[in-house]
């Protein structure tokens, strides 16, 4: 009998910039059991880096005592990644998602983070409340090998 492969992981870490590379490598390494292409892996690393960097820079304004949580779910070839912070939140999500919009031009931000997430993933959902924090949900359907993992 074969069934749809399901798996899950969660990790929490301090809002420090050195954890950005740790986060993208951890998610990529978890996803690798689905045998993604190099391009799919790079896409996923890039979007995790975008969302975690946003939590560090905007959510916690580079204060290192915040907590960032990542949950990654797999179901068949569908990968869902949630990046959660309890930081400042976003007042106007529609404005924030506009290409080239940044609230921090003085930090040399280009305002491309959400645009990159939207281009590299199939679905991007943003839930945010000012003063409460932000949750980004990213979904991608991997197009690789249509096999189910045997149990």
């Amino acid at each position: 009998m074969s069934e749809v492969h399901k798996n899950f992981m969660e990790l929490s870490f301090a809002s420090r910039s050195e954890n950005e590379s740790f986060a993208r490598v951890a998610v990529a390494s978890f996803i690798s059991q689905l045998d993604p292409t190099m391009e799919e892996l790079t896409d996923i690393k890039t979007v995790v880096s975008e969302a975690v960097t946003n939590a560090v820079i905007h959510g916690y304004e580079e204060k290192t005592d915040g907590v960032i949580t990542i949950r990654t779910y797999m179901e068949g070839h569908k990968v869902s990644i949630e990046i959660v912070d309890q930081g400042l939140g976003i007042d106007n999500v529609d404005e924030a998602r506009q290409p080239l919009y940044t609230s921090k031009p003085e930090l040399e931000r280009s305002g491309m983070g959400f645009t990159i997430m939207e281009n590299f993933m199939d679905e991007v959902t943003v839930e945010s409340q000012a003063g409460q924090g932000t949750k980004i949900q990213l979904v991608k359907h991997l197009k690789t090998h249509q096999q189910t993992i045997q149990h």
């Binding site: 910039s17 590379s21 391009e39 975008e50 820079i57 040399e108 491309m112 990159i116």
Partner: protein
Amino acid sequence: MGLYVDVARRRSVLIVRLSGELDHHTATQVRQRLENELSKEIDTNLVLNLEDLTFMDSSGLGVVLGRYRQISQLGGQMAVCSVQPSIHRLFEMSGLFKVFSFYENEEQAIQACGVAS
């Protein structure tokens, strides 16, 4: 992992070769190093060689655009060369492909700056 910045000079061209991963964490180091080199005012042109850059995100776009602005203010040219396909996509997405010049290899990029200066 991390990022390594290698700097060389040829006449009026500052050649910067980045290897490793350019993200928010490592961008600070690149920004400081390049601001420092450019403030010596020996060079007026900048070639960025990204051949050995294995990862970049929007933080990299920000640093590259920031240096372009800096070099333009000094009246110089900037050229980027040897960009890997995954990073190429980010430049395209952001529209930076229309802003400064991209070349296949370092020699072409240097020539392009040299001729113009």
